[in-house]
């Protein structure tokens, strides 16, 4: 059943609680625009291509930065492309990691063709089956406070599907130059030395 929550409101509310210890990895397309609309923060890393890598990027970051909270915010199309990564996340079991899938049940960037979640696929159930213990699906505005508490505070990995409406919204583009976006993120997190190389 399609959702009716508004993606931009959900993401804005979700990220209003972020602080310097919050690192956000956004999936390509609308999820990246949503995250950028909420604030073009240096600690965002937005996918612009290479679909299907958002969860793996977040996992690598979570393993590198145990003291930070890593939020992956992506869409159903991107998530469906990397379902195996959920099994990898479950196996690694990062305590500082949350995945939020904005599920509008369609490929929004390419004309709204239905994805598998418009049919019978249930991403939260798939995540649970992959071994992620804390999973759930959000449909109502009244569930947003609990969503935020879980995403920021519950022991990870946390997986939430948020059923949203299919909407065509204004693009809020993050820096499209990947080298700049990467350096901006690393300098914010690691300090100025990170811009001249070195781990």
């Amino acid at each position: 059943m399609a959702g009716f929550l508004h993606r931009r409101d959900v993401v804005k509310t979700l990220l209003a609680r972020r602080n310097a210890d919050t690192l956000v990895v956004a999936g390509l397309g609308s999820s990246a625009w949503d995250v950028t609309a909420a604030g073009n923060d240096d600690r965002n890393f937005c996918q612009i291509g290479a679909m299907g890598l958002t969860v793996p990027i977040g996992l690598g970051l979570a393993e590198a930065q145990h003291d930070k909270r890593i939020l992956v915010i992506t869409g159903d199309g991107d998530m469906l492309m990397s379902l195996g990564a959920l099994a990898t996340v479950a196996q690694v079991r990062p305590r500082n990691f949350a995945i939020i899938v904005l599920d509008n049940e369609c490929f929004g960037e390419t004309g709204g063709q239905p994805t598998h979640t418009a049919g019978v696929a249930d991403l939260a159930a798939i995540a649970r089956g992959a071994g992620i213990e804390d999973t759930g699906e959000i449909r109502e505005q009244g569930e947003i406070d609990a969503l935020i508490a879980d995403v920021y505070d519950a022991p990870g990995p946390v997986f939430r599907t948020v059923k949203i409406a299919y909407e065509t919204l204004e693009d809020f583009k993050p820096p499209l130059d990947g080298a700049y976006a990467k350096d901006r993120f690393r300098v914010a997190l690691l300090g100025a030395k990170a811009a001249v190389g070195g781990a």
Binding site: L23, V25, F45, Q47, I48, G49, A50, M51, G52, L53, T54, V55, P56, I57, G58, L59, G60, L61, A62, E63, A64, Q65, K68, S82, G84, A85, A87, T88, Q91, V92, G178, A179, A181, K182, F185, R186, L189, L190, A194, G197, A199
Partner: protein, 170 residues
């Protein structure tokens, strides 16, 4: 002359180069190296469901200030092609160690196409290649590859030839 223990030498190079995140789709050619990495408390070793996950995972590691390496078989090179856009577009380092199949005395016909295609595909995607055909070439190849990747922020692959690893019946 005692045979060189090249997996242990590879491991030493990884340590010396500050690699702390290893991800892999296992291959018998990488078996000993994976075991050596798993024995280290200060290395994160992650088994992947498919190779392209590793390209994303190592990009995340680099964003977080850590160096990693991806260990895969040549058949898995086919799975990472589009993912290579990520380190290329972001000018991030990527170090891949590939155990080759489909070349020296291969026994499995299904390994031939991707084995033959591996160097061409990687080069087509802008990956710099270093090849080791013998035990004494392994350390120089990996050391040069790691230096290139992390000093110039580019993608590199070390191809460990099937002649080095040994032909397989299957």
């Amino acid at each position: 002359m005692q045979e060189a223990d090249w997996p242990a030498e590879l491991f030493e190079v990884l340590c010396a180069r500050g690699i702390s995140q290893i991800c892999h789709v296992p291959d018998s050619g990488h078996g000993r190296l994976i075991k050596l990495c798993e024995a280290r408390n200060d290395m994160s070793v992650v088994t992947l469901t498919t190779e392209e996950e590793g390209v994303g995972l190592l990009a995340g590691a680099w964003l977080g200030g850590k160096r990693g390496a991806l260990l895969i078989q040549s058949s898995g090179v086919g799975n990472i092609i589009n993912a290579l856009a990520l380190p290329a577009a972001c000018r991030m380092p990527l170090l891949v160690i590939v155990s080759m199949r489909g070349e020296w005395g291969e026994g499995n016909p299904w390994q031939l196409p991707m084995g033959l295609g591996t160097p061409k595909v990687l080069e087509a995607m802008g990956v710099t290649l270093f090849r080791a055909d013998s035990a004494d070439a392994v350390v120089p190849a990996l050391d040069a590859a790691a230096g290139t990747a992390f000093n110039t922020n580019c993608s590199v692959a070390v191809l460990l030839s099937q002649r080095l690893i040994g032909a397989k019946e299957f």
